[in-house]
């Protein structure tokens, strides 16, 4: 049911003319994905998904949509003259998904994720992030710092 909701949300994102409606449908999709994370015994990832994605990034999307004037784009003609190639590309992607699904069937034989018996998801993520993947963590924070600096410099009047 949650995956159906995510798919429906995704379809609504690409079919709406009004950009604000698309953003709302994307919020529905992200919340459905957070629910899927919960069902996979990863509550921390679900919580962070809601905070960061649905609460932060979508607010950013909505700001941009509102500050850019949209009346012109709503009345533009939709350009989908090359739909055969789009259909071919999506069929290839579907074939790829099916092959991944078939090959991965052996991993989850009874189609259920085993509940983790050791420690809690939050603690595991913390241990991994600050233990094994510390370098990647620092690089990611440096990347964010560069992005913030770029935004500040572009928004200043005089450097």
């Amino acid at each position: 049911m949650l995956s159906g909701l995510a798919i429906a949300g995704g379809l609504l994102v690409i079919t709406r003319r009004n950009a604000v409606h698309s953003a709302l449908a994307l919020i529905v999709t992200l919340l459905a994905v957070a629910g899927l994370y919960l069902m996979l015994y990863a509550p921390f990832v679900a919580g962070v998904q809601i905070i960061v994605y649905a609460g932060g990034i979508m607010v950013l999307f909505l700001f941009v949509i509102m500050l850019v004037s949209l009346e012109r784009t709503v009345k533009e003609r939709q350009f989908n003259r090359i739909w055969p190639i789009g259909l071919l590309a999506s069929c290839a992607l579907l074939a790829l998904f099916f092959s991944v699904f078939e090959k991965g069937k052996k991993l989850f034989e009874d189609r259920l994720v085993p509940a983790p018996t050791e420690s809690v998801n939050t603690q595991k993520i913390g241990e991994m992030l600050y233990g094994n993947y510390m370098f990647a963590f620092e690089i990611a924070s440096l990347l964010l710092l560069v992005a913030i600096l770029g935004a500040v410099i572009m928004a200043k009047k005089r450097i």
Binding site: N18, H21, G47, I50, G55, G56, M66
Partner: protein, 439 residues
């Protein structure tokens, strides 16, 4: 269904842990009703308290001392005409107050009123609360956009920018409190040498950590807990768009900000969402720093006699309120036009005193007969009472802030949020971590 009802009565788990849907639903309904009543009481208290701060009387006509004023307001809002601006986006206009309302009320699923009285005690309780209150920003943004008019749009953009900015400081202050759950030491500066560095994000776990460490996190590591609490208190006032941070809905600057074009029932949904969010973040603050449902000095003054003395407090509070109502009755003007109001106030006083007597009877009967159900209901009563009392103090503080302080201008607001609160909360976080490791 009946066996689901009966099987939970003896358990000490939350309905979420006991996998009991019926009791979870019952808790949800009780919380919903309680919060709605609290919002109406808060509306009355705000008008009366603001009036008394401003040396005037406030609503006095509708009921005795204005007690029926919230009901009159609710009826008025429900029968008003529902106006939708002509060019407005109908779907988004309709859904915006609902999103705000959903975000405000969903927080109550993790709020603990007692060691097993929460709807469901998630492992990630605090994270859930932070996430859901960041969904409230979306409701504001959509309300401003859908109104298709410039005052709401500016109000919505300002309001959402303010809410997003103060969420950062709020999150960092919360992390500071969560750090203190992993210390396992006793007293103000206690860090146990046996602490294995595992804290907990669950709300019930946070209060139990305060009980185990014999100190409210407000006083832990003395200035640090206090500073973190003050930052959270300021950020929560800014987060709910209340004075002194209420420029987005200030009447003199922006007509009414993002909810200008909403009339009648939709506006009352926004008001409900705002007050419910206020109560929700106050209960978060109470849980994290003020010891949740713990009565004052649970470890220092332990033992059955002290428990009994503190268990008399709920009944005494209601008897005190009834006494105040009787005092008001005596002081009513002796004019025949006031007869109905006098009788009404006397009846209200009788009801309050009756509740007080009932709440006194439960612990006294529990002490006398030592019956199991009476003991457990005394405990539950005490937990809920102390929690609600602490949240009520926060509500009064909200009204006091509104009466006392002038509004921040928007650039001053953003400056305080980013240049003052964020560095201080980062500093408190780092200092807490250092002190926790050194000691």
């Amino acid at each position: 269904m009946l066996d689901q009802f009966m099987s939970y009565l003896g358990s000490t788990l939350t309905p979420g842990q006991a996998n009991n849907q019926l009791w979870a639903l019952i808790y949800v309904l009780i919380i919903f009703a309680g919060v709605s009543v609290a919002v109406m009481a808060m509306n009355w208290l705000e008008r009366k308290a603001l009036a008394h701060f401003q040396v005037r009387l406030g609503p006095m006509r509708v009921g005795p001392h204005g007690l029926l004023q919230p009901i009159a307001d609710a009826v008025k809002l429900m029968i008003k005409e529902d106006i939708i601006p002509s060019e407005a986006d109908k779907f988004v206009f309709w859904i915006a107050p609902l999103i705000g309302l959903l975000a405000a009320f969903t927080v109550y699923t993790v709020v603990p009123f007692g060691p097993s009285q929460a709807v469901s005690d998630m492992n990630i309780g605090i994270l859930f609360m932070l996430g859901v209150s960041s969904l409230a920003v979306l409701g504001v943004v959509m309300a401003g956009w859908a109104s298709n008019s410039h005052y709401p749009l500016i109000g919505a953009l300002r309001s959402s920018a303010q809410m997003v900015s103060y969420e950062v400081a709020m999150g960092l202050a919360v992390v500071c409190a969560i750090l203190m759950t992993s210390l396992h030491g006793l007293g103000l500066y206690g860090v146990s040498k046996l602490s294995d560095g595992t804290g907990t994000l669950s709300m019930i776990g946070i209060v139990q950590a305060q009980q185990e460490q014999h100190v409210w996190f407000l006083f832990k590591f003395f200035p640090l807990g206090l500073i973190a609490f003050v930052i959270f208190a300021i950020a929560m006032v800014a987060e709910t768009n209340r004075a002194p941070f209420d420029l987005p809905e200030a009447e003199s600057e922006l007509t009414a900000g993002f909810h200008t074009e909403y009339s009648g029932l939709r506006w009352s949904l926004f008001m409900l969402a705002e007050y419910a969010a206020m109560i929700a973040v106050s209960s978060i603050a109470v849980t994290l720093w003020l010891g949740g449902w713990l009565r004052p000095f649970p470890n220092l003054l332990a033992g059955p006699t002290w428990d009994f003395i503190f268990a008399l407090f709920p009944g005494l509070t209601f008897l005190g309120l009834g006494a105040i109502a009787f005092l008001g009755t005596v002081r009513m003007p002796k004019h025949p036009y006031f007869k109905i109001q006098t009788i009404g106030l006397a009846a209200f006083g009788v009801v309050l005193a009756g509740i007080g007597v009932l709440l006194l009877a439960i612990p006294i009967a529990a002490k006398v007969s030592n019956h199991d159900i009476l003991n457990r209901s005394t405990e539950a009563l005490m937990n809920v009472y102390w929690f609600v009392a602490k949240v009520a103090v926060f509500m009064y503080l909200y009204i006091w802030y509104r009466a006392t302080w002038p509004r921040y201008r928007f650039d001053q607001l953003m400056k305080v949020g980013w240049k003052v609160m964020l560095p201080i909360s980062l500093g408190v976080l780092i200092l807490t971590a250092i002190v926790g490791v050194i000691l």
